[in-house]
């Protein structure tokens, strides 16, 4: 960098330029000597205006390179050389660091551009035109050269007209892939494995919970049913037997009903026992009465309304009736009981 001569701009204007001037003066000891000559005030103004002018010219040059970058790159003209020539001229008047900084900035920008231009030199001689390339490629991809209405662009008909088929890029890719030595992407045939321990857990829990709840529910209902059935069964049976008793009595009110004929079920010993059991309730509740006939055989009959008052005081007689299998058979034979008077209940 050339050392500029400091013409009277030394001590006179430190407030304007600050440290840059000090730097200049340190580097160029000669400059300090000529400070004394000039008249401070008028030269300051002229000089600073001049320097402002230089700076603005530099900025113009820099922006011209940046704005017209594409043009300077692509065209074969010498625009960039012109810029550099101007910069050289301008530099002759540079004396301060501030302008010099702008000069270096311009150099940097210009040299970047120059580097790009130089790299273009390589491609210049290669005759590869992107537009032609595009045209050929589009044809390969199956472009339909339909004429559409509308302006034809300056770039050529390749761009604005025509439509590509749907598989255009696939078609190109199939051929282009031959240039690639890429591996086929690896995928599991049945998809990737995903561990599934979490879902079964809640399922198992829910299943476990559900049965227990139901089981609990079942228990009470069953119990209720059993109790009911027991109660109902007994009560119903007793009522039923009373019905039979009354029915038989009403058929022939005068003739007594033999007790044993009444209760014995010739087909089933257990039913016989049940019948005895149920009739005992009838007697207990005062709905039936037992008495002995002339032959000293027990008889049973329903209690009629009128009879109640008589028998109340004295009717506290108890007896225990037992029957064995043997006895049941003998009674059955002796009394020649073919059918049971009490029909067995219909079981579900």
């Amino acid at each position: 960098m050339k050392r500029g001569r400091c013409t009277g701009s030394g001590d006179a204007d430190p407030p304007q330029n600050g440290t840059s001037d000090d730097v200049m003066r340190v580097r160029d000891p000669e400059a300090g000597a000529s400070n004394i000559d000039s008249l401070p005030d008028t030269n300051d103004e002229v000089d600073s205006a001049h320097r402002r002018d230089i700076r603005s010219k530099y900025r113009v040059l820099i922006s011209s390179i940046q704005q017209n970058r594409e043009d300077m790159l692509n065209n074969r003209d010498n625009k960039i050389t012109e810029v550099l020539d101007e910069a050289n001229t301008l530099f002759k008047e540079v004396h301060q660091a501030r302008e010099a900084a702008l000069d270096s900035q311009l150099l940097v920008v210009a040299s970047d551009l120059g580097k790009e231009k130089a790299s273009q030199l390589f491609s210049e001689g290669l005759s590869f035109d992107p537009s032609t390339f595009v045209q050929h490629t589009l044809s390969f991809m199956g472009l339909n050269w339909l004429e559409e209405e509308g302006e034809s662009s300056d770039e050529g008909a390749a761009t604005s007209h025509g439509s590509l088929p749907r598989n255009a890029w696939h078609r190109l890719a199939r051929r282009a892939e031959a240039c690639f030595q890429s591996t086929p992407a690896f995928h599991f045939i049945y998809g990737s494995f995903q561990a599934e321990p979490p879902p079964p857990k809640p399922r198992v829990e829910r299943q476990r919970k559900a049965p227990t709840k139901e089981a609990k529910r079942i228990m009470p209902t069953q119990l209720k049913k059993m109790e009911e059935s027991q109660q109902e069964a007994t009560e119903k049976e007793v009522e039923r037997i009373l019905g039979y008793l009354q029915q038989y009595h009403n058929q022939d009110p005068t003739s007594p009903i033999s007790y044993y004929e009444f209760v014995i079920n010739p087909h089933s010993f257990s039913r016989t026992v049940e019948n005895i059991f149920h009739t005992s309730f009838l007697v207990r509740d005062g709905l039936a009465r037992m008495y002995m006939d002339e032959d000293k055989m027990p008889c049973i009959g329903p209690v009629e309304d009128g009879m109640l008052e008589e028998g109340r005081a004295s009717a506290r007689k108890q007896c225990v009736i037992s029957i064995t299998l043997q006895g049941w058979r003998e009674l059955r034979e002796d009394l020649d009981i073919q059918e049971s008077m009490i029909q067995p209940p219909v079981t579900n």
Partner: protein
């Protein structure tokens, strides 16, 4: 940085290592051998298999695999025998799959899988992923224009093919993202800033994966077909393409292997 390019025994200090690699220092070969002696064959085989599977899975997206990730996710406590396991994995890839495990970035230790076998034209294996077509266009353009191309040229060329980075493409979606992000992450392309530009400008170059995976000769051949020209017509590129993989004669595997 010369310490990094160790020829024989590896140095025990790692200079200028990036990211998580800083915890991983290369053991010497004797240390590796000692480490190997402690392991059973079954353990070694198991780790090799795991590494092979890991790499196959990571390869699905074509994003390069970092050594740090391998050490962290697969090798773990076996990291001192990293090189041995890697070698075995490479052998498996070559012998079983016909693949090559290549270190495309020796500084950052980044690996990719490429196919050893030549693609057979017209075969069913070629799926025709449309992104490959787009990539081909860009790579061809860059290559034929000297290896470096300003992004403006790429966008203009694509626009002529109805692919506009400013619009959503029916096939490619966000084109700009695909080209400047996905292709770059896969290392097919490099998208670098030009210094001192205002507004900021970028250039495209071939990425590290492309250098290793894409055959320049084959590109030229296809271009020749498209232009109905002999590929040798482009003499400079042809010359360059012919010597693309001549340095690959022995094996383009991990450069730190000795």
């Amino acid at each position: 940085m010369t310490q990094r390019k160790s020829s024989g025994k590896r140095s025990s200090t790692a200079v200028g290592v990036e990211e998580d690699d800083s915890i991983f220092t290369q053991p010497t070969t004797s240390q590796v051998q000692k480490g190997m002696e402690k392991l059973t064959k079954a353990q070694i085989d198991e780790k090799t298999t795991e590494l092979v599977q890991y790499i196959l899975m990571k390869d699905q997206k074509k994003i390069p695999i970092k050594r740090a990730d391998i050490v962290k996710n697969v090798l773990k406590e076996y990291k001192n025998v990293f090189q041995e396991i890697m070698n075995r994995a490479q052998q498996r890839f070559e012998q079983v799959f016909g693949f090559k495990l290549v270190e495309i970035d020796a500084k950052n230790h980044v690996y990719i899988l490429i196919n050893k076998l030549e693609p057979v034209e017209g075969s069913e294996m070629i799926s025709g992923n449309p992104k490959t077509g787009l990539l081909f266009v860009i790579l061809s353009l860059v290559y034929m224009k000297g290896g470096v191309v300003p992004e403006g040229l790429v966008w203009n060329t694509l626009k002529k093919m109805k692919v506009d980075p400013g619009e959503r493409h029916p096939e490619f979606g966000d084109v700009k993202k695909l080209v400047t992000d996905e292709f770059v992450r896969q290392r097919y392309l490099e998208y670098t800033k030009v210094p001192h530009t205002e507004p900021v400008k970028y250039v495209f170059t071939w990425g590290q994966r492309a250098e290793v995976e894409v055959s320049k000769i084959k590109i030229l051949e296809f271009l020749g077909e498209l232009h109905s020209q002999d590929p040798q017509h482009w003499s400079q590129q042809y010359k360059d393409a012919s010597s693309q993989w001549s340095s690959r004669a022995p094996q383009p595997s991990t450069s730190s292997q000795r």
